[in-house]
């Protein structure tokens, strides 16, 4: 059950140290802010302090007179050329959205929105002039609360008639993929109704966003801290009316993204405009405060849920009603994020009736968009919290309840109530391994002891299973969801005269380790040393076609394109090999870098063929003298990694402090190319998921100002705050790609949040606590305990046994 026969095993599966790390660790990296071009000017942004206001006047005279200032651009100055920032995912034909200028022209709709930019000879001169721009505002009423925004009592934009952008519905009865939800709810023996709040999060990538634009060559060249150089190039061309062929986008070293750099930003457009107006290279690098305030946020949903089940614990239906906070504008895929979750609420379970309705709502806050997991963590949280609630209601072990409802391994491929076909999975195996690593029975016994002893530190066990649709995405499916692009990926494999290999990938890495993983893939495929493979990416002039990196798609889509291109190289080389060895093409066999004539000892290597092809002295008639090959891979299906996560949570009932005693996760991501990279992805993902459960929240005050505007208040956990993870893998290969890989980038983030919250609640449920908002801060836990003391003891849920 490891790699398929087509791929050898020498490199794939090896825990290679990452090629990328040497230059990153030794400070030889080149991030966008490191770029210095001759004559380069610097940009600073003037941002609105108000969450909603009319701009009545802007006086730039003082700023223009400030030393070193070259120009000040306001929205009025660029109104005719700045266009409207793109939303690539109109989820319904009647979706409403305000125009989204890079520099606000008449009205600002969130605190931090750009109202002018300063262009100066130095970053300090630009920054000094920011305070000298005198903007007159007429404040407008603001709406911050999601539920209140949905009532339209206060409008987030004066140009809109309603805050409701769109309502998107999936109904398994109507779609023919399942039964009607109304019947399931009406016939429910047990009905669990809950409302969960997905707090607003900030991606908080390590490298703040930065953009350099050089307008002085034949093309406009942009360096940007982006996940999506290819999409950005296209969108800049469309937004600004520049021929696409005149735009080159380079993503040099990029310090993390987590979806936060899956965006076409106002700041990128403004840097182009500034460079155009001055005719000089311009640079903008945001401060951390600006990044927290104005880079897109994530999550921010209210989930109203109804789960129906039988007394035996068989789930019969789920009704999901969401409000999703768009913030002030629609970014690149803002509107589609909840839809990415719509197909995941059923998760690994096989209940027959499902309805999902989401209303996207505008508020006067920073706009939201993709953040690690994008829709799927929200869905997993909802169903996994509900499964625990149902277990409590039925007095059933939560693991046993889950097993009663999940798809059995022999039932794959399985078509879900959403109509997705899960190709493979083995939830029994992953869960069994997790339970063993965790010592589930031992911890349950300790939990019982602590309860009996009324220990001030109580123990809870949190469970979350999950699956996710990743490997985004089959282009036809994206088309059916009205997404503005496809989901394929492109690769080119080039064979140099020395036999060295260049791999050009459209999947633009920003920390994932593509250079290492792609080298491993190609080394096995072509039988060349790992060190002889060079991976090129992140520059639209080098990698002309691509759809970039997000949604755990790189290996399952981009990696497959690399393998497909390498296959084509082998086929081309076979022609040359047959010619050189005077054999029939059908008799040529390729293995471990060597071409042999079947049944003989005649053999030649890929290196020899590469050189012969380069020389072109003796090639078959009509053979183009190169072995280079391109491939574009469009997946036929999503991939469906899954896993079981178990968290032992200690709650100090005196202080409300929560401590992770033990965290076990067993993920099934199919065939693993590099276990070290996988381990890193899992650890990072867990940290971000745990952070949602316990630490992070973007908080606004009543005036719509971000309170968590620095890392003093926006609490990102660091190593001392996180446990030693016990990780494990099971391997159930995907059947829909040649490697059997499934994707790992989002797994840890998706499963850990509900595991942690379920564990916290399990620790204190016997004390009468029914729910705690995320993040489960010590203060919130303590208040929940205090409130439970005063509540009617008879209503206690009694705890999971």
């Amino acid at each position: 059950m490891t790699a398929t026969a087509e791929v050898g095993s020498a490199e794939v599966g090896k825990a290679r140290l990452r090629k990328e790390d040497r230059h990153l660790i030794t400070g030889r990296s080149r991030f966008t802010d490191n770029m210095v071009l001759p004559g380069m000017l610097h940009i600073a942004m003037v941002r609105s302090p108000y969450a909603h206001a009319k701009i009545t006047a802007i006086d730039t005279a003082q700023a223009l007179a400030s030393p070193g200032v070259i120009a000040v651009l306001t929205g009025a100055d660029v109104a005719g050329e700045q266009g409207s920032l793109p939303n690539a995912w109109p989820i319904t034909p009647d979706q409403k959205a305000p125009a989204h200028p890079a520099i606000a022209v008449k009205e600002v709709a969130f605190s931090g929105e750009v109202v002018a930019c300063i262009i100066a000879r130095s970053a300090a001169a630009a920054r000094d002039a920011v305070e000298l721009v005198d903007v007159s505002y007429d404040e407008l009423p603001i709406v911050l609360d999601l539920a209140e925004a949905a009532t339209d009592k206060v409008l987030a934009h004066t140009s809109l008639e309603s805050n409701r952008s769109a309502t998107w519905v999936f109904d398994s009865g109507e779609a023919g993929t399942g039964q009607p939800i109304a019947e399931a709810l009406a016939n429910a023996e047990v009905l669990i109704e809950r409302t969960f709040h997905q707090q607003r999060l900030i991606p908080a990538f390590m490298e703040p966003r930065s953009t350099v634009v050089d307008p002085t060559g034949e093309q406009i060249t942009m360096w940007s801290a982006t996940q999506i150089p290819h999409i950005l190039r296209l969108m800049l061309a469309l937004t600004l009316g520049i021929p696409e062929s005149k735009v080159r986008v380079i993503a040099p070293d990029v310090g993390g993204g987590f979806g936060g750099k899956l965006q076409v930003t106002p700041e990128e457009v403004i840097t182009v405009l500034a460079a155009r107006h001055t005719g000089k290279p311009c640079k903008y690098t945001e401060t951390r405060s600006e990044s927290l305030q104005a880079a897109h946020h994530g999550r921010a949903q209210v989930q109203r849920l109804k789960l129906s089940a039988t007394r035996e614990g068989i789930v019969t239906g789920l009704d999901v009603n969401l409000l999703a906070d768009m913030g002030a504008y629609l970014g690149l895929v803002t509107s589609g994020v909840p839809i990415l979750g719509a197909f995941m609420y059923n998760s690994i379970y096989k209940f027959p009736a499902y309805r999902f309705e989401c209303t996207n709502v505008f508020t006067n806050k920073a706009w939201t968009d993709a953040y690690r997991g994008a829709g799927r963590p929200e869905a997993t949280f909802a169903i996994e919290r509900l499964m625990d609630e149902l277990a409590v209601e039925l007095g059933m072990d939560p693991l046993e309840l889950r097993e009663k409802n999940w798809i059995k391994h022999e039932e794959f491929p399985f078509t879900t109530v959403c109509g997705l076909e899960y190709d493979s999975g083995n939830y029994e195996a992953a869960t069994a391994k997790a339970v063993e690593l965790f010592d589930y029975d031992g911890l349950r016994a300790e939990q019982a002891q602590r309860r009996a002893a009324n220990d001030p530190v109580q123990l809870g066990i949190g469970i979350s299973t999950f699956t996710e649709m990743c490997g985004l995405a089959p282009s036809r499916v994206l088309g059916s969801l009205a997404y503005g692009a496809g989901g394929w990926e492109h690769a080119q494999v080039r064979v140099l005269p020395t036999g060295n290999i260049e791999v050009v990938t459209g999947s633009s890495a920003h920390g994932q380790g593509h250079e290492t993983a792609w080298s491993q893939l190609v080394a096995d495929k072509l039988g060349v040393p790992f060190e002889n493979v060079e991976v090129l990416h992140g520059d639209t002039q080098v990698s002309q076609r691509g759809l970039d990196t997000y949604g755990s798609r790189s290996l399952t889509v981009g990696g497959m394109a690399v393998l497909a291109a390498a296959d084509k190289v082998i086929e081309k080389a076979k022609v040359v090999a047959a010619h050189l060895m005077e054999a029939s093409g059908d008799d040529i066999e390729f293995s471990a870098g060597n071409f042999t004539v079947r049944g003989t000892d005649r053999s030649t290597s890929l290196g020899e063929i590469a050189l012969a092809t380069f020389a072109a002295h003796n090639l078959p008639d009509g053979f183009e003298p190169n072995l280079d090959s391109d491939a574009t891979f469009d997946p036929v299906n999503f991939s469906y990694p899954h896993g079981t996560h178990l968290a032992a949570m200690e709650v100090d009932t005196e202080t409300g402090a929560v401590h992770i005693r033990k965290y076990v996760c067993v993920d099934d991501i199919g065939v693993v190319v590099n276990p070290l990279i996988v381990e890193g992805q899992v650890h990072g993902g867990l940290a971000q998921g745990i952070a949602q459960a316990l630490y992070e929240e973007a908080v606004y005050d009543d005036a719509g100002t971000l309170v968590t505007g620095s890392f003093v208040d926006y609490l990102v956990p660091s190593a001392p705050d996180l446990p030693h993870y016990v990780t494990g893998l099971t391997e159930t290969p995907s059947t829909t790609n040649q490697l059997g890989a499934k994707g790992v980038g989002e797994a840890g983030t998706i499963a850990s949040t509900p595991a942690i919250v379920n564990g916290v609640l399990d620790a204190v449920r016997h004390l009468g606590v029914k729910d705690i908002l995320m993040p489960c801060t010590p203060s919130r836990v303590w208040h929940a305990l205090e409130e439970a003391k005063t509540a009617d003891a008879a209503q206690s849920n009694g705890g999971v046994q």
């Binding site: 970053a123 300090a124 920054r127 000094d128 305070e131 401060t287 951390r288 405060s289 005196e654 202080t655 409300g656 402090a657 630490y695 929240e697 908080v699 309170v707 968590t708 620095s710 003093v712 208040d713 609490l715 990102v716 956990p717 660091s718 001392p720 705050d721 801060t777 010590p778 203060s779 303590w782 208040h783």
Partner: protein, 287 residues
């Protein structure tokens, strides 16, 4: 994160520094004294402070280190937290200071940030003021009129406000010895590197199986550090037992006026003060 332009001076003596402060004052310029810079530089980068001049004390001899001064330790204001946390004299005579200093931020900050700088900054959530208050230290200030001494009880005046007047510099802190006392600093945070949500600085003198004396300082329970006076009174002469300490700690939040913020409201902080005081005192008493 670029501060406004400012003038910078690094005097070699306290006298020279005082002269620079006086000159700036008479010119009407806003002047800031730079110690370790761990608070001043960030607020300048955020432009929450934009002094016309910064006077850096870093090159002045004699403002660093811990010396034995009879019944007290004399600690230079420019002594880094890292030194306080590891100094043998501090460990022997006022271990509470070392314990608190070891909880300040992270190793980089502890090597740069200074004892005196943290005290003059007077952040109510800062870790050094409460132990110094509990210890009844004396602050030695140099000013245009010469040296002046301020008792800890009168030093902290409000949010980020102390008895150090314009034109003055804190040069030394004289901390009485508490040789033989038990001590503990109990700090409560949500993540490892964070300002205290609440912290309790406790020293206990145990004699003949009873608590002879206790000195308790509270961090972040008001706009200034506080002495938990009711608690101290309740402990004086109390039986050395967990139960007695727990009972006394019901008074830990008496007279406090904590802020409400993202980390907790006032009621939660007052509750925390009681729990943390109990834990601090139990540890200090060696129970």
């Amino acid at each position: 994160m670029i501060p406004s332009a400012f003038d910078y001076a690094a005097p070699a003596t306290v006298l020279e520094a005082l002269g620079l402060l006086a000159a700036a004052d008479s010119a009407g310029d806003d002047v800031k004294v730079l110690a370790g810079g761990q608070s001043l530089i960030p607020v300048m980068k955020l432009r929450l402070a934009d002094p016309a001049m910064v006077v850096d004390l870093g090159r002045i001899e004699g403002l660093r280190g811990v010396t034995d001064d009879g019944d007290a330790l004399l600690i230079g204001a420019m002594t880094p937290h890292h030194v306080i946390a590891n100094d043998p004299l501090v460990a022997a005579h006022v271990p509470l200071l070392a314990m608190a200093a070891a909880t300040v931020a992270d190793p980089q900050v502890r090597h740069r940030g200074t004892f005196g700088g943290a005290l003059v900054h007077a952040d109510p959530a800062g870790d050094m003021p409460a132990p110094v208050l509990a210890a009844g230290a004396t602050f030695i200030l140099a000013g245009p009129g010469g040296e002046r001494r301020v008792e800890a009880a009168n030093f902290f005046e409000g949010y980020f406000t102390t008895a150090v007047r314009e034109g003055e510099i804190l040069t030394h802190i004289r901390v009485p010895k508490y040789t033989g006392w038990g001590a503990h600093y109990e700090k409560f945070t949500r993540v490892a590197q964070q300002w205290s949500i609440v912290a309790v600085a406790a020293m206990v003198l145990v004699q003949d199986g009873r608590i002879a004396q206790a000195r308790v300082g509270l961090t972040n329970m008001s706009s200034t550090p506080l002495r938990a006076s009711s608690l101290e009174q309740a402990l004086a002469g109390a039986e050395l037992s967990v139960e007695a300490i727990a009972a006394a700690c019901e008074h830990a939040a008496d007279g406090t006026d904590p802020a409400s913020d993202l980390n907790g409201d006032a009621a939660y902080r007052q509750h925390l003060a009681k729990v943390l005081a109990k834990r601090a005192l139990i540890a200090a008493a060696g129970l």
